[in-house]
């Protein structure tokens, strides 16, 4: 017997290996004109893996204190061999991961893949997206540069505007009244311990649910296949789809490497809490549409602060979005959801673009 088969047998005798893998072998992936959207979730997962690996590498040199953080990143980027590349990959992969997660989410909305029985898969995915944004927000501060310092100030202040719980949340996030080294310690803890733990757990749940329910056939394809069953086509997940997915990962890695090498991430200047804010303070692009909206809302809307109204609206919209599968029942609400989703895409796109060009 070949050595590999021997190992396999050994494992199988003890764990029932073949039985464990059986579901994977039966798993199929529907083939149709929207099939390529299926790759996005996997690419996001791959990028998360990249983040874990590069994040661990960064940890070897990074020092999370207000006096040392900036210098340690600077050292990493200038003295450590390929330090700039590791950091650049980490930053780029973070952004790409958020991008693919957003695309994945919108593809699920437009293909209405969240339909019964997959409501909870959607909810777990949305929670993962929020976690990813939390990763972005907390990671942004870690190099302790001017831009990140003020973006964090503004971001946590926004959290502080929420009625009743806001101030407490802000104190909790900042570790005090102001953004200081204490904030850095906390964000570091969130970024490297709390969020990764939660994310790993939720990714597990998300995958388990997907495994359990199988891959959704888009709402538009389903009736076509019911009418013409001979049209129905599937491919086996293992190995056919997996190999294609691996190809997609390979391409993603290529794109990532090219971006990281040819457009390395800068560091900026060290944050000084007692210097005026420079012009052009912007959060990362995926917060930009909210940021730009808050900028446009007038200071007072009737009796309320414009900020508060904006924040509450965004929170409410987020909550509704989270519950979309439970709202999508009749034909009418379906059309409403699709319309709303189109509006959201258009709004986010326009506001982000506007945020980029606006001063």
């Amino acid at each position: 017997m070949a050595p590999l088969a021997r190992v396999r047998n050994w494992l199988d005798e003890r764990f029932g290996w073949d039985e464990l893998l059986a579901p994977l072998r039966h798993k199929t992936v529907p083939i149709h004109r929207y099939s390529y959207w299926y790759f996005l979730g996997g690419i996001t997962l791959f990028l998360f893996g990249v983040q874990v690996c590069t994040g661990i590498l960064l940890l070897l040199y990074y020092r999370p204190s207000a006096n040392e953080a900036f210098e340690s990143v600077q050292y990493l980027m200038t003295q450590v061999k390929f330090g700039w590349l590791v950091r650049s990959v980490h930053s780029w992969a973070a952004n790409l991961m958020i991008l693919t997660a957003f695309l994945h989410m919108f593809s699920v909305v437009f293909l209405r893949a969240y339909r019964k029985p997959r409501e909870l898969t959607w909810v777990s995915g949305m929670l993962l997206l929020f976690l990813a944004m939390g990763f972005g927000f907390s990671g942004y501060l870690l190099p302790w540069n001017t831009l990140a310092f003020f973006a964090t100030k503004v971001g946590t202040d926004i959290a502080g505007q929420v009625p009743f719980v806001g101030h407490r949340t802000m104190i909790f996030l900042r570790g005090g009244e102001e953004v200081t080294g204490a904030t850095l310690s906390r964000f570091f803890g969130f970024h490297v311990a709390v969020l990764p733990g939660l994310t790993t757990l939720l990714v597990g749940v998300h995958l388990l649910l997907i495994q359990r329910f199988g891959i959704s056939v888009p709402a538009r394809i389903e009736p076509e296949w019911r009418e013409l069953p001979q049209e129905k086509r599937e491919m086996r997940f293992f190995p056919s789809f997996l190999l294609r997915e691996l190809m997609a990962w390979y391409i993603a890695l290529g794109v990532l490497g090219a971006l990281a090498a040819f457009s390395p991430w800068g560091l900026g200047t060290k944050a000084d809490p007692f210097a005026p804010a420079p012009a052009g303070i912007k959060p990362e692009w995926y917060f930009l549409f909210m940021f730009q909206t808050l900028k446009l809302i007038p200071a007072k809307l009737g009796l309320l602060d414009g900020e508060v109204v904006g924040i509450l609206t965004f929170s409410l919209a987020g909550l509704i979005w989270l519950l979309v599968p439970f709202l999508d029942g009749t034909k009418r609400t379906q059309r409403l959801v699709t319309g709303a989703a189109m509006f959201v895409v258009a709004y986010m796109g326009m506001m982000t673009a506007y945020g980029y060009v606006a001063k």
Partner: protein, 137 residues
């Protein structure tokens, strides 16, 4: 029996979580700065310019107007707490984050800031410029 058990479990859960919750909230720092600081030296500022000084743990803005008068404000923007700066070209206080404008008395003129900046008193003692918090009248 069930109630006893439930109550006991609840009480022990409470005794675990209460300390953790309290632990998460950082202790309040006593602001050592007091109500008065030396914000700068006479002659340090040219007329029609400003600088940031430390007022306890927060930034303050000291300005010398073209009229030769010193003025001081809290430098924390009332919008989303960026640090403001003096704009000599406009003779106004400017917040770069979202283009908020204040006049020299700290009144919010335009942009998103919802409230005026806190005004401080300025005294010149010898060659030191002393800034102090206004006492509530």
């Amino acid at each position: 029996m069930g109630m006893l058990l439930g109550g006991g479990l609840f009480a022990s859960a409470l005794s675990f979580f209460y300390p953790v919750l309290r632990y998460l909230v950082p202790p309040r720092l006593t602001d050592m700065g007091g109500d008065t600081v030396v914000a700068g030296k006479v002659g340090e500022l040219r007329p029609n310019s400003g600088k940031i000084f430390r007022f306890g743990s927060r930034p303050g803005l000291l300005m010398l107007g073209s009229d030769g008068q010193y003025r001081a404000l809290s430098a924390t923007c009332t919008h989303l707490s960026c640090t403001v700066q003096y704009r000599g070209d406009l003779r106004q206080v400017w917040c770069a984050c979202h283009n908020g404008m204040y006049d020299l008395a700290g009144r919010n003129l335009s942009g998103p800031p919802p409230r005026p900046l806190e005004q401080y008193d300025v005294h010149v003692r010898g060659d030191e410029i002393i800034v102090s918090r206004r006492r509530e009248a």
